[in-house]
Symmetry: none
């Protein structure tokens, strides 16, 4: 079912949908036969909501596929992550809150070290401190080439986001990182005629960067990879007719939300409770609210089972502030799994709860992986959740007679 | 899996398949935590059959999509409703039992009211009585244009089915209904060269209709929309090698069954029991029987929970007449859900039962939404039911070695 088909069936309504995404929510037991993080957490409010909900397990990208945050979020936002790809360069730019535009080509940059013969000796420049990165980025920003603008935004240690802005740019470009040392950095080559001008401009930039950085050992050169344009994704307002708000503390995820047309709301503070405060304050002004909790994923990636449990419990304790707003439809899910046992993102399907007045509730008063496996949503692609939520919000009309 | 692939694996067999479709079967509880219509109904025979069956929930068209009867039936008949679309005009013609042929282009017609300046004042002509519609339809049938035939078949109140029959017609035509009043009706325009002749003929028909109806206020003009040809759908005999019979009291659904190559059997009487009598009388002459019960949907659309329960109980009481015939495979399902709570078709997955000697039975002795959610068929596209039924009827051979 493609989004165009869905778009043609969308009708206006006064209903409100809230999507609460705990990043990396899905987990694993530490011991065989044990409980996952979510099953371990004491979640009376989520359990009560589950009793009035349909439950299921969502597959973010495809069977066995471990998603990054980009495709993980695109999936739960209702897009096929294999059809709508956000290139790595674009994700890097979104991750530093860069306001990526339709005339931009972005790449991931590294400072690196080259020896006297121009051969790479360290692809990461000894992981220079971020402060050095910031100083060198300022230096690179002095490069001027006619007709285009360049942006160099420090990320962390040796990494930066690189953006070229101007008319007629293309992103069909090869990477300069040879992925090994002892060889020179590669020139950028255009893979399509439309990108030839861009290749020439980027190679000019790299040549000037090499001169500017010559005496800045170990960060005396740069590598660029993952060239990507701003992806053309149909947005929430145009696709679903939703005035959509994003409440997100994490820059890259906020960038993805903005890409799909959500308005990123300002959050005063850094806590999950502050995000719920933002939700309350803006409740009257939007149809759809996406609230993102990052700390579940961080705890999972750190291998900290107990901390992930505590974050889930913190979200649970805040749930009454959402239900007090009387949302018509609530989705609680994750963008992917991040089991503490694996200390990483994983491929495991994600526990998902769909609440609403017209949801056919399963009567399972528990929100957890195995409870969700028994639910009537079954195991479903993450992208199918939004259409079902929209239907329950009475925002999809009948197809044919 | 496309139908061509399946078709190549079909083998002959002596087995018989019966598909019992209760229209709009799926429901919702009236109160949170309550039972649906099907769960409320006392269904000892269906429950006993369920105990020997595999259960599941079928998704007619796609997640969140509320189907009309056309796509709902195509789905449970084994076709992807998004691939095989029956246009609205064609459905309108099928709905009045019109024998739509491959050289026909059909449309939905409205009588409407235009004022002195030719501007629309009422798109529905004040919903004239059906008897007036019938008289005016007779008048329109007098229109003769060289080389083609026109058919005008009254539906109800201001609505009629309109069909042009002749060689070389196309249905890539714009609608004449501007969807608002205060403006003139639009001329038909061809969207492709193949439809230009048809556009010209239909515009001539409309011009003559305007003259004939001039003094018939409020029904002094017509609007046409949803132009559609007879859809090219591979039929049950050619796809599945099935001699298929349809036992259907409702004209449009009977039309869809005929479209897919089922032979519509004559039913003496208007009751569900009469349909079962037809089933018994024709049992020896077909491989596949589709028996359609309309009243579940009507009760659902009327918001009459108790009546829907009674209709389901009536079907249950008739089930022994089916099982006495010793069918090899039985499907009991719906074409979509029509919860009394919503008084309309809905997107909710449909409870589905598959019985057969070689079915891996779930051992769940209950036919209901939540029982089906626990079944081994899982949540599956409706179009997947027919291949599974054919396999259980030993009508699909092994794929490859």
């Amino acid at each position: 079912m493609d989004l165009k088909f869905l778009q043609n069936l969308i009708v206006p309504a006064q209903t409100k949908i809230a999507m609460i995404i705990m990043d990396g929510l899905g987990g694993l037991p530490l011991e065989p036969g044990g409980k996952t993080e979510l099953e371990t957490a004491r979640t009376p409010h989520l359990d009560a909501l589950a009793a009035q909900s349909a439950l299921g397990l969502t597959v973010p990208v495809g069977p066995g596929i471990t998603p990054g945050s980009g495709p993980g979020h695109l999936g739960i936002f209702g897009y096929d992550p294999l059809q709508y790809e956000i290139g790595r360069g674009a994700l890097e730019a979104l991750g530093v809150d860069f306001d990526l535009g339709p005339n931009d080509v972005a790449a991931r940059g590294n400072f690196c070290t080259v020896g006297g013969a121009g051969l790479l000796t360290d692809r990461r420049a000894g992981r220079i401190p971020t402060e050095v990165n910031e100083e060198l980025a300022s230096l690179l920003r002095t490069i001027r080439i006619d007709g285009v603008e360049f942006f160099v935004e420090p990320v962390k240690e040796h990494r930066f986001a690189f953006v070229v802005r101007g008319p007629g740019l293309g992103d069909a470009l090869t990477e300069t990182d040879p992925q090994k040392t002892g060889v020179p950095a590669l020139p950028v080559r255009a893979l399509e005629p439309d990108s030839e001008k861009t290749a020439r401009l980027v190679n000019q930039f790299i040549a000037q960067a090499r001169q500017l950085l010559a005496d800045r050992h170990p960060a005396n050169m740069i590598l660029l990879r993952g060239f990507a344009r701003y992806p053309a994704i149909p947005t929430y307002p145009e696709l679903f007719g939703l005035r959509a708000a994003a409440i997100v503390l994490h820059a890259m995820v906020r960038g993805v939300a903005k890409l799909v047309g959500m308005q990123a709301l300002n959050v005063e503070g850094e806590g999950i409770a502050d995000e719920f405060t933002t939700l309350e304050r803006n409740w009257n002004d939007f149809d759809f609210f996406y609230l993102h909790v990052k700390k579940t994923d961080t705890a999972g990636e750190d291998g900290d089972f107990a901390r992930k449990v505590r974050v889930i419990e913190e979200v649970d304790a805040l749930m009454p502030r959402l239900t007090a707003l009387k949302p018509d439809v609530v989705i609680v899910s994750g963008d992917h799994s991040s089991p503490a046992l694996l200390k990483a993102h994983s491929w495991h399907p994600v526990p998902t709860l769909l609440y609403g007045k017209y949801v056919r509730a399963d009567g399972i008063a528990e929100f957890g992986e195995r409870a969700c496996a028994r639910g009537s949503l079954g195991v479903l692609p993450a992208k199918d959740v939004m259409p079902i939520a929209l239907a329950n919000a009475q925002r999809i009309t009948k197809y044919s007679a």
